[in-house]
């Protein structure tokens, strides 16, 4: 059964505009629509009326790329746990619902337009240390270095991070530490990541600070909001790696 909803969408022309909520009524919403298809429908209607469409980020629409965002009724990626906005469906809502849609809000995530924010600060953090050095030449045998099951599982779970920024959006301090900790964990616990291990954590945290993200106060909102269910224990590991890296560098010239 199709139903009607009211949307309160954050509209902001550019970084320099202050922004405001605009209300839209949308009828004939099918429970089978994805949340983004619902917004597409709204945009088609706006376009037909000659009005400016709502800008929002999306790409794969299958929950793997990390492009979609949206702070829906006070929750990053909406009410389903472990789910990106593109995988959220309108069957989670019902007739007469009022849905607030806001962009990720954090100083380093400047609003580009409406619901689109600039997440290039994440790219700069990755550039600072989110890589390993590999000699060029023939492709190596994938199994040349044996890695225990526990470690490879841990690294794989951390590598599931799609860099969407929901952790920053959910954190009361707009801290990026879940994101950074996932990247550090993924690379630092595997032998391939060991040569740059301590340099990496130091550089990535330094760029994270420069970008203006807040500090973790251990409240676990990030883990709950993460569509890929990255664990907050990674933050503990990030702290440990950082402390060891600083102690090591203090005792080496």
């Amino acid at each position: 059964m199709n139903f009607s909803i009211t949307l309160k969408i954050w509209r902001q022309k550019s970084e320099f505009d202050t922004g405001r909520f605009v209300s839209y009524n949308l009828d004939h919403v099918s429970p089978d629509m994805s949340f983004l298809e619902m917004l597409d429908t709204l945009n088609v209607q706006l376009e037909e009326k000659g009005k400016e469409t709502v800008a929002f980020d999306h790409d794969c629409r299958e929950g793997i790329c990390g492009a979609c965002s949206l702070y829906i009724n006070g929750e990053p990626h909406g009410p389903d746990r472990g789910t990106t906005t593109c995988q959220l469906h309108m069957r989670r809502f019902k007739e007469g619902d009022v849905i607030y849609i806001e962009p990720w809000r954090a100083k380093p995530f400047k609003v580009v337009k409406d619901l689109v924010v600039d997440r290039s600060s994440f790219d700069r953090i990755i550039q600072a240390g989110g890589y390993i050095s590999v000699n060029t030449g023939n492709a190596r045998d994938a199994n040349a270095i044996p890695i225990g099951k526990t470690k490879s599982d841990l690294a794989f779970d951390a590598a599931a991070c799609i860099g969407c920024g929901a952790c920053v959006a959910a954190c009361k301090n707009a801290s990026a530490m879940l994101f950074v900790s996932a990247k550090v964990t993924q690379l630092s616990i595997l032998p391939q990541g060991h040569p740059e291990r301590y340099d990496r954590v130091s550089k990535m945290v330094s760029v994270m600070d420069q970008e203006g993200f807040g500090n973790c106060t251990n409240e676990g909102e990030c883990e709950a909001a993460c569509p890929k269910e990255i664990k907050k224990e990674n933050i503990s590991r990030l702290n440990r790696e950082f402390i060891v890296s600083k102690v090591k560098s203090a005792f080496s010239s």
């Binding site: 309160k8 945290v205 702290n239």
Partner: protein
């Protein structure tokens, strides 16, 4: 900025300072509480203990160290709170709690500042306060009678109890946070650490509240 200053200014560096100074302050809280229990051994035992502490020249070193630890904790706590606020210049119209966000975790700066206010009053009242009965010939202050006199004022006792509840509140989030900040927590122990953290908060608050309750309302 030199290498070491940069570490102290980094996000995790600052948090590590909070955790280490917090742990030291917690140690101080425990030893102070142990001293308080001497009140139940009578005036003489308590006064002599207090005298032994202040007449040891090492007390100046200890006091200086303690003041530095307090200042380090307070200044870093304020800087962190300000930075965290700045990281989100525009607030959400609607937010929901998804994780373990609690009233205690969101009000650390306020519970902390109340504890600081209490600390000032506490020092003014006892350490630098005027005694109710004169010191003995060998210079032992009658701190026992001073404490009993203050706690027998119900208003003072109530103020004291409220502040100790705020301290307990601070600790209920702080203790588990400390382990996580220092990277010492493991997923399988986290649930236990969190329960212990709340129990520690309750325990410290209850421990300190025994005295105002006993001298203010029972005796």
């Amino acid at each position: 900025m030199s290498k070491n200053c940069a570490v102290l200014d980094s996000s995790i560096g600052k948090k590590v300072i909070m955790a280490i100074t917090g742990a030291l302050l917690f140690g101080f809280l425990l030893s102070h509480l142990a001293g308080n229990f001497l009140m139940f051994c009578g005036a003489e035992a308590y006064n002599n203990y207090s005298h032994a502490l202040v007449s040891n020249p090492l007390i100046y070193v200890a006091e200086f160290f303690l003041a530095a630890v307090f200042l380090g904790h307070i200044i870093n706590g304020i800087i962190l709170t300000v930075r965290n606020k700045k990281a989100r210049p525009v607030e959400y119209a609607m937010t929901q709690s998804l994780g373990e966000k609690s009233i205690a975790s969101q009000t650390m700066i306020w519970s902390g500042l109340i504890v600081f206010y209490f600390l000032v009053i506490h020092l003014v009242t006892f350490k630098f306060g005027t005694d109710v009965s004169p010191a003995s010939a060998d210079g032992v202050r009658d701190i026992y009678s001073l404490v009993v006199a203050r706690f027998s004022e119900k208003i003072y006792s109530i103020f004291y109890i409220m502040c100790m509840i705020m301290l307990g509140f601070h600790l209920s989030h702080a203790i588990q946070s400390l382990f996580r900040t220092l990277g010492l927590s493991q997923p399988k122990y986290l649930a236990i650490i969190k329960v212990l953290s709340i129990l520690t908060g309750i325990g410290i608050a209850a421990g300190y509240c025994i005295f105002p309750i006993y001298f203010g309302f029972i005796k």
